[in-house]
């Protein structure tokens, strides 16, 4: 009973608000905690899931761009370190090309044109200038590259090709891309694994926290819950109240988390695009990527509701 009613006019009048909850879950301090918790869960989850997604995308890019693509590299110097003439280079590369095309495992072999080379090297050298300043020849001895599209990438094919090209030029080198590609793929695999792990940890911790919070809310409103029981309310009826409460709070928290993550990821993308464009493959968000941003908050809300349901039912079972 409020014994200082004059001080609070509205309460003193005592007209209550619209009936929404049988149990006053919408009041009390637990609310803010749960909102922040779900917000955080959604934020971290979105970060790790989108990181995993982007990594997968990168890995696929690298894989499709480079899988089955080998390269033969022909330096433009001879064994004694002297520069070859244009004629010599032309001859050697034509020779290599024909030899390589005869291999069964090679689908096509293409000599990379100057244009291709320029593009390939542009991030590292100011290739335009290098050529123009000295007329025909570039300042640095740019090697001739022959790109191979392989139908077969076994060790035998590699061995055979190596044997052949050595005959033409001992300095020519076969690059299978494999070592650094697999390195990169292993790295992204690890990162993806970490992301999944983080997701799992967040989910479990969050689930436990939600369950704990709900059980403490139940303890707080024990008397009301017992009263509802004694009036013949089934477990479902009582659980629904908590579920609704959890759903509203989770949705609020999830929205906040979603907004923060979108801002964060957009900001990060903007920052990265302004800096090292060449460092990472460019990533264009697909519809599926954006779908994650709808699915994650909804699933977390759903998870919260289910957890609540489980926690409340579990506790109710213990009551008489």
């Amino acid at each position: 009973m409020n014994i200082f009613p004059i001080k609070r006019k509205d309460r003193a009048l005592g007209t209550s608000e619209k009936h929404t909850y049988d149990i006053p879950l919408d009041k009390g301090s637990g609310r803010l905690f749960l909102t922040i918790l779900t917000g955080l869960m959604v934020f971290l989850m979105l970060l790790s899931v989108s990181a995993a997604y982007i990594l997968t995308d990168f890995a696929q890019n690298w894989q499709t761009a480079l899988d089955g693509k080998w390269t033969v590299e022909l330096p433009v110097i001879d064994e004694d370190g002297k520069d070859l003439t244009s004629k010599q280079i032309e001859d050697k590369s034509q020779q290599l090309l024909t030899t390589l095309q005869e291999f069964h495992a090679v689908r096509t072999a293409t000599l990379l044109s100057d244009e291709d080379m320029k593009e390939l090297l542009s991030p590292w050298f100011d290739t335009d200038q290098a050529k123009n300043d000295n007329g025909e020849e570039p300042l640095l001895p740019i090697p001739v590259l022959i790109s191979l599209d392989m139908s077969e990438t076994g060790a035998k094919a590699a061995h055979d090709i190596r044997m052949e090209i050595e005959k033409i030029s001992p300095l020519a080198r076969l690059d299978q891309h494999e070592s650094w590609l697999s390195e990169l793929l292993r790295l992204t695999g690890t990162l993806r694994f970490v992301a999944v792990l983080v997701t799992i940890v967040i989910c479990s911790a969050g689930t436990l926290a939600v369950a704990g919070a709900m059980q403490s809310r139940m303890a707080e409103h024990k008397e009301s819950v017992e009263l509802l029981h004694l009036m013949g309310a089934g477990d479902q009826y009582i659980t629904r109240q908590f579920q609704r409460h959890a759903f509203i709070i989770a949705l609020q928290g999830a929205t906040i988390g979603l907004i923060i993550s979108v801002l964060f990821i957009t900001g990060l993308g903007w920052y990265l695009s302004g800096h090292d464009e060449t460092l990472l493959p460019s990533f264009t968000p697909t519809p599926l990527f954006w779908a994650i941003f709808a699915i994650v908050p909804l699933s977390i809300s759903g998870l919260c509701v289910l957890t609540t349901r489980w926690a409340v039912l579990h506790r109710l079972q213990k009551m008489l």
């Binding site: 009973m1 309460r11 007209t15 009936h19 049988d22 008397e223 009301s224 009036m231």
Partner: protein
């Protein structure tokens, strides 16, 4: 309808509060439950509304063994019982109206019917002007009337009232007793725990008397003699 056989009850490791309690309530019967303070009236009520389990003995309610019900059946059975708690147990954040409407909402009745029934009942108990007030802004007697209204609004098959007129003046107390009588005429079995000798004298009903944890049943006729004298006074 209700049959207690050899019921014993103790709280925790304390002494037995109820011992060898043995009685039958016929459908449509009306009993007073009396006994000194601390005799175990509220405890017996708790057993009747399935708020606790007896430590020993057998309880039959509505032709079912009350100790072996599953949760669903128990909830269903409780919907047929109306209870006025000794300490009211109103939900403090709900208005008088919503407190009374609660058992109807739990039973899933239509909101339109609920409004009509609840408003009518609240007017009847003299709280027509206070329907939207929160319990803590009402007087003790007004709160008690809400508790009573909440117990009877579902027209339960068993009504348990624990000291329902302790905070009410005689006039409104008698008015509520008449409400109980009317409910009883429509078939509700009623048990009222009370200390109010005057009320027990005035309304002739058999008494269950608890003394030292043991229950004895006194017939209504016993009390009639005294009542005639009192009838002259009021």
């Amino acid at each position: 309808m209700i049959k207690f056989e050899n019921i014993g009850l103790r709280y925790g490791v304390g002494p037995e509060v109820l011992r060898d309690v043995h009685f039958t309530l016929a459908p449509g019967s009306f009993h007073f439950l009396s006994g000194p303070s601390g005799a175990g009236k509220t405890s017996l009520m708790r057993l009747l509304y399935l708020g606790i389990q007896p430590t020993r003995g057998e309880m039959q309610m509505f032709a079912q063994n009350a100790q072996q019900l599953d949760r669903h059946k128990k909830a269903f059975l409780r919907q047929k019982i109306g209870v006025v708690f000794q300490d009211f147990r109103l939900l403090q954040h709900l208005s008088a109206f919503d407190n009374v409407a609660l058992p109807l909402r739990i039973q899933g009745q239509k909101e339109k019917d609920i409004r009509k029934n609840v408003e009518e009942l609240l007017k009847w108990v003299g709280l027509g002007d206070h329907m939207n007030r929160l319990p803590h802004t009402l007087s003790g007697g007004q709160q008690q009337r809400i508790a009573i209204a909440r117990a009877v609004v579902t027209k339960p098959r068993l009504l348990l009232a624990d000291e329902p007129t302790g905070n009410l003046d005689d006039e409104i107390g008698y008015k509520l007793m008449i409400l109980f009588e009317q409910l009883n005429k429509t078939g509700t079995t009623i048990v009222i725990a009370t200390h109010n000798e005057q009320m027990m004298e005035r309304f002739r009903h058999p008494r269950l008397v608890l003394e030292d944890g043991e229950l004895s049943v006194e017939d209504a006729i016993y009390a009639t003699q005294t009542k005639k004298i009192l009838d002259g006074v009021y």
